[in-house]
């Protein structure tokens, strides 16, 4: 029986690997996701076939969790996707923490399992599973609170924060080591609870100083952590499929975080420990000129004559739920003879690929979605670039102001277009707190007001 279960785990691992591979291409992604879910089903069924299990609890747990997951997945709005992914992530992390804890409770009754290595090893992997799981759990919950607006998205920084975090981390690691070394000693249980408590605390402390615009990196990283937590839990219960699947996710999440960091021209350390936009920002050249507003009517006349239009969406479009009217405007412009494209910055929004999901929901044709480099190449020939709720990702200071904190970050070069319309709520700065020099350029016109209302207004003009 044990052999059969292990063979099934191998099959599951193969399906996970194929699943992830297929998720990497648009044509096979749907099948990829289903392939990996089949792997999960096989792993679960194989585990259930183990003899001596009490099924009543298992069925209850599966039914309750399945129902909750089903309802959440069915009801979520596409704009609410980043926070849901963050929340699921937190659940996965907490589950791994609890698996580690449950194992420790078992140890308290039955004694340490030393079949892999000494007690110290079992204790150490339990501590690691709890540590990573705990950070993932509370870190994701803070990310969820920030993304869903239940908590301000701004970075929360206070004096001595880094010292405090370092201190907590130090005590945490110390307690973990003490737990592993003294696994059979009298103080082991105390040390264990210290590890549990502090890992949950450090997750909160680590994510509160990170601002909303850095969330794509944080989510990708927490995703990686949830995988590593599962892998650690795999070492705890000596289970290969947990180790393989967890490590795959850990590695892929890490790659994704690195891609996001590159798109912001920053290092991971800078994102995590920089407290960007709260303490550092504000430098850079003084801006000359003034912001010039334009009415919806005048904007309509410009658009009507445009041969080539690029939309550059950002988080503001998600907030205003404007993706459907934007798509409508795009379709009208196309009927009017213009070439329509959407220029998507890799870190636009609050999650890797966030804008693509929203525009896909609104049925924007796939061919119109362009990556940053592709759209930058044609930008000088573009008549009108329409910036909808994006800010830092179109700030020319990243290109021409060496003193700017975002200098060097790749941006969508909308300033090269003949005319730029910026849809914006008010005159404030972006998330980073930086003044956007784009707004002061001669070829830029500001369309103030709610993005959805403004775009609807434009659509209305075309229909009249």
């Amino acid at each position: 029986m044990e052999l059969f279960i292990n063979l099934a785990y191998i099959a599951a691992a193969i399906l996970f690997i194929y699943g992830i591979k297929m998720l990497g291409s648009a044509t096979t992604a749907v099948r990829g996701n289903r392939t990996s879910s089949l792997g999960m089903l096989i792993a679960v069924v194989a585990t259930l076939s183990r003899s001596g299990l009490d099924y009543s609890w298992i069925i209850g747990g599966l039914a309750l969790g399945g129902l909750l997951g089903f309802v959440a997945a069915k009801r979520v709005q596409m704009t609410g996707m980043p926070e849901l992914v963050a929340l699921f992530n937190g659940f996965g992390g907490l589950a791994s923490l609890l698996v580690g804890w449950a194992e420790y409770e078992k140890v308290k009754v039955h004694g340490w399992d030393t079949s892999l290595a000494g007690e110290w090893f079992s204790a150490a992997v339990i501590a690691i599973a709890v540590l990573i799981g705990g950070i993932t759990c509370t870190g994701s919950i803070i990310a969820w609170l920030k993304l869903s607006g239940k908590m301000g998205g701004a970075a929360i920084v206070f004096p001595g924060q880094k010292v405090l975090n370092a201190l907590v981390m130090l005590v945490l690691v110390g307690a973990g080591v003490a737990f592993a070394i003294g696994a059979t000693g009298a103080s082991a249980a105390t040390m264990f609870y210290v590890v549990v408590g502090l890992s949950l605390l450090i997750g909160v402390l680590a994510v509160i100083p990170i601002g909303g615009g850095d969330m794509p990196v944080v989510i990708a990283l927490l995703n990686s952590f949830s995988g590593l937590a599962a892998a650690a839990a795999g070492f705890v219960i000596n289970n290969t499929v947990l180790v393989v699947a967890g490590c795959l996710v850990g590695a892929s999440g890490l790659i994704l975080s690195a891609i996001m960091c590159k798109a912001m021209n920053r290092t991971l350390g800078n994102v995590l420990f920089g407290g960007f936009g709260a303490a550092g920002g504000g430098s850079g050249k003084a801006v000359e000129g003034e912001m010039k507003a334009i009415s919806v009517e005048d904007a309509y006349f410009v658009l009507e004559a445009a041969q080539s239009v690029v939309f550059v969406p950002g988080y503001g479009m998600a907030v205003a739920q404007a993706q459907h009217v934007v798509k409508e405007l795009g379709a009208i412009l196309e009927r009017n003879g213009a070439e329509v494209r959407f220029g998507i910055h890799p870190v636009a929004g609050r999650m890797p690929g966030h804008m693509n999901v929203l525009l896909a929901e609104a049925d924007v044709p796939y061919e119109q979605l362009c990556e940053m480099d592709a759209v930058n190449a044609v930008m000088p020939s573009v008549d009108v670039a329409i910036v909808i709720g994006a800010n830092d990702v179109v700030n020319p200071a990243a290109v021409d102001d060496e003193d700017s904190p975002i200098y060097g970050m790749p941006i969508i070069n909308v300033f090269e277009a003949k005319t730029v319309f910026v849809l914006k709520r008010g005159q404030g700065a972006g998330f980073s707190g930086l003044v956007n020099t784009l707004f002061f350029r001669d070829n830029t016109r500001m369309l103030y007001g709610d993005a959805k209302a403004t775009v609807s207004g434009l659509v209305g003009q075309f229909e009249d």
Binding site: F16, I17, G19, I20, G24, S25, A26, A29, V30, N33, R34, S36, M40, L48, R50, D54, W57, G61, G65, L68, F70, A73, K74, M78, L84, V85, F88, N89, L94, A95, V99, A102, E103, E105, K106, A117, F121, A229, A230, A233, I237, L242, V244, C247, L248, G250, A251, S252, G253, L256, I259, P346, P352, G353, H354, N356, V357, A360, P365, L369
Partner: protein, 93 residues
């Protein structure tokens, strides 16, 4: 020896993960993330074993909580990814 094999597996899986993801177009980043997030719910296997123990009150309760959470992660993660991806597909056809 078994420990070394397990560590070996871990390291190889890590390299494989890096290789698999390196060239994903940015359009697919969200589904990729939520899809791999669902895979990290594999910890459900550990939760099943813990909650299915015949004895051990505390351990069983912890396992049960882990099972509920991990199942939410798995079921919700796969379904939401499927929903997103079917939108991508509908558009193409």
């Amino acid at each position: 020896m078994e420990l070394i094999l397990l560590l070996f597996t871990f390291v190889l899986a890590g390299f494989l993960g890096f290789e698999l993801i390196a060239k994903v177009p940015s359009q697919l980043h969200t589904p990729l993330m939520s899809g791999s997030n669902a895979i990290s719910g594999i910890t459900v296997v550990g939760a099943l074993l813990a909650s299915g123990q015949v004895d051990g009150d505390m351990s069983k309760w912890l396992g049960f909580a882990a099972l509920v959470l991990a199942t939410v992660n798995v079921v919700g993660g796969y379904m939401v990814t499927d929903r997103m991806l079917s939108m991508f597909k509908a558009k193409k056809g």
